[in-house]
């Protein structure tokens, strides 16, 4: 098959994803929208009557909302990892999957970004968290980890969005020239007048390299910053120096799992099987396996560190975590994050999309639980026994959580129908490279 044919086939396959959505797709969109409405209703209720509609209390004044925040920021990590880090490492298998991951990143951060606002006691004053000149000369406290969050997350959102949009430019141009009507106008917009001349490519390739260079440290910084929300405090079970690497690994772990969760159905639905091959899934599964081992190691390390030496608040908290009121959740988490991924050692499993889907779903659950357990057990059981109090989530928190999933999937479902979910240009480049390899 000639190169041109290969190119044409790639482009046809991708373009085929850009048709009017089918009934199933519409149904999913409706479900997602409904979830958003439910979440919105719950939030408006919480704003009008106050946080009492939540299950929060003293001492557990952070729980599901912050869990969701960390969870979605984590989800947002794989995208940049695939597109930036693996780009710098010139990992060939990334080409087919990174666009999906990037989109997931952007929508993940969009979702995560909601929660710091939702969890505020006075969300209508959320803008006070930004340093803006005002006549009262009030400024923000840059010593606060929450302020680091503000900067880290918004930076991450902006940079990864730019990364996504810039990456789409050549593909948009390709689709523009191959389609007509409103879609042509849409692609024309995203193509920014791209013509594919050597001059454009000259600057483009360089700039893309820089975006990758910028995004790479972000991957590690953002979740480190998020982990500092906890590590910088003096709460037993939070105050731990291993948190940054532990959280970053966890983030990549959950992010990759989410990529698999999305890709497996997607390649079926959009008929991308011959672009997104099982080798690609295999590559993702290997990363998941690796990060799973790192996360497991961190779990063990956390306990070892706490149990060494005499009785301490840390020891009490961690024993509570493993044997206290929330122990069932803890062991579910271990099963999902440490046990289940071990199956990925088997090649058969890695090459069975269905199995991968199941495992990745388990990991998503497990990682959500991990954040929940870290946050809640730490708070519910700190140094002073008389302040110990249990936490149970309530309807409003559940609704808002469901809403966040709706929000995320809504954008994702819209995206895959409007913009190329696989990078056409890079695939074409890959074709040529492969031919050189053979």
């Amino acid at each position: 098959m000639s190169v041109a044919e290969a190119f044409a086939r790639i482009q046809r396959t991708v373009q085929a994803t850009q048709r009017r959505p089918g009934a199933g797709h519409i149904a999913l969109l409706v479900v997602a929208a409904a979830a958003i409405v439910a979440g919105g209703w719950a939030w408006s209720l919480q704003i009008s009557v106050g946080m009492r509609v939540s299950g929060l209390n003293r001492p557990v004044s952070w729980a599901v909302y912050i869990t969701n925040f960390v969870f979605w920021v984590g989800i947002a990590h794989s995208g940049t990892l695939l597109s930036a880090v693996l780009f710098l490492f010139r990992a060939r298998h990334r080409t087919a999957v990174f666009r999906v991951a990037e989109a997931m990143t952007v929508f993940g951060v969009m979702t995560a970004g909601l929660f710091p606002i939702i969890h505020l006691g006075r969300p209508w004053l959320a803008y006070w968290l930004f340093p803006y000149p005002n006549q009262r000369h009030l400024w923000v406290n840059f010593r606060s980890p929450l302020m680091w969050d503000v900067f880290a997350v918004s930076t991450y959102f902006i940079v990864s969005s730019i990364f996504l949009v810039v990456g789409i430019v050549p593909d948009a141009a390709a689709l523009r020239d191959a389609s007509r009507g409103w879609r042509r106008r849409l692609y024309a917009f995203f193509a920014f007048g791209w013509r594919g001349t050597d001059e454009e490519w000259r600057h483009y390739s360089r700039a893309y390299l820089y975006f990758a260079a910028f995004a790479t440290p972000l991957v590690f910084s953002v979740h480190s910053v998020v982990s500092w929300d906890f590590a910088v405090s003096i709460l037993p079970g939070w105050h731990s120096t291993i948190f940054p690497p532990y959280f970053v690994a966890g983030a990549i772990f959950s992010g990759m799992a989410m990529v698999i969760t999305l890709l497996v159905p997607l390649r079926r639905a959009l008929h991308l099987e011959d672009l997104v091959t099982r080798d690609h899934l295999d590559m993702l599964a290997r990363i998941v396996l690796l990060t799973s081992l790192i996360v497991t190691y961190s779990y063990i390390l956390e306990f070892v560190l706490a149990l060494r030496g005499g009785p301490s608040a840390e020891r009490r908290t961690l024993l509570y975590r493993a044997a206290g009121d929330y122990a069932p959740l803890f062991w579910t988490m271990i099963a999902c994050n440490s046990a289940a991924p071990l199956l990925l050692f088997f090649r058969r499993v890695r090459f069975t999309p269905a199995a991968l889907l199941v495992i990745s779903l388990l990991i998503n659950v497990g990682m959500w639980l991990e954040r929940f357990i870290i946050i809640v057990t730490g708070l519910a059981h700190d140094r002073i026994p008389w302040s110990w109090h249990l936490y149970k989530p309530r309807l409003v928190e559940a609704a808002i959580t469901v809403g966040s999933f709706g929000w995320f999937f809504f954008w994702f479902l819209v995206f895959v129908r409007l913009l190329p979910a696989v990078s056409i240009a890079e695939m074409k480049e890959a074709v040529v490279e492969e031919r050189h390899v053979d």
């Binding site: 930076t155 700039a207 910028f214």
Partner: protein
């Protein structure tokens, strides 16, 4: 720059690259190409200077670092409240802000530069538009006239161009 010249359409980057090399060997200084992806061999053949965007982007990042520290220290001094017995200007946390702003401003400058340089380049070294060039074909254009153009056409043909035509 004149846009008078010869445009050839290739189905494969390899012969296109060879054509480009040949053209430049034949003394054609102004050879341009349009392609759906930055095929290394072709880029190598064109042998364009490295983009000037590096230094600008880099300075953008450095400005970011400066802004980060300036913002933190400035506001801390403007509103000196003691928290947790820590000094008003406590550098370690400010490093984080400086880093984030470096990345942010660096990336924005990078984007702006790309838009400017890319756009200008597109205008300066225009390649006659053809929808296929973003799809499955590669266009090579050489600015030439008269005999030079004929020579170029011949060169293109022998390197297996699918079609060759005069433009301008």
């Amino acid at each position: 720059m004149s846009t008078e010249g010869v445009l050839a359409v290739f189905a494969d980057p390899a012969p296109a690259a060879r054509a480009v090399v040949a053209l430049r060997a034949a003394g054609h200084s102004d050879v341009r190409a349009a392609m759906p992806a930055p095929f290394p061999e072709l880029v190598r053949a064109l042998d364009r200077p490295r983009s000037a965007l590096d230094s600008i982007t880099l300075s953008g990042a450095l400005i970011g670092v400066g802004c980060g520290f300036a913002l933190c220290i400035g506001t801390a001094l403007a509103w000196p409240l003691v928290t947790g017995g820590k000094p008003i200007v406590s550098i370690p946390p400010f490093v984080i802000i400086a880093f984030e702003l470096a990345v942010l401003i660096g990336a924005l400058v990078n984007l702006a530069t790309l838009a400017v340089l890319g756009g200008r380049g597109r205008r300066r070294r225009e390649v006659p538009g053809d929808p296929r060039f973003s799809g499955d074909r590669i266009g090579v254009f050489v600015a030439a006239a008269g005999t030079g153009a004929e020579a170029a056409e011949a060169l293109f043909r022998e390197h297996g161009a699918e079609e060759v035509r005069r433009v301008g």
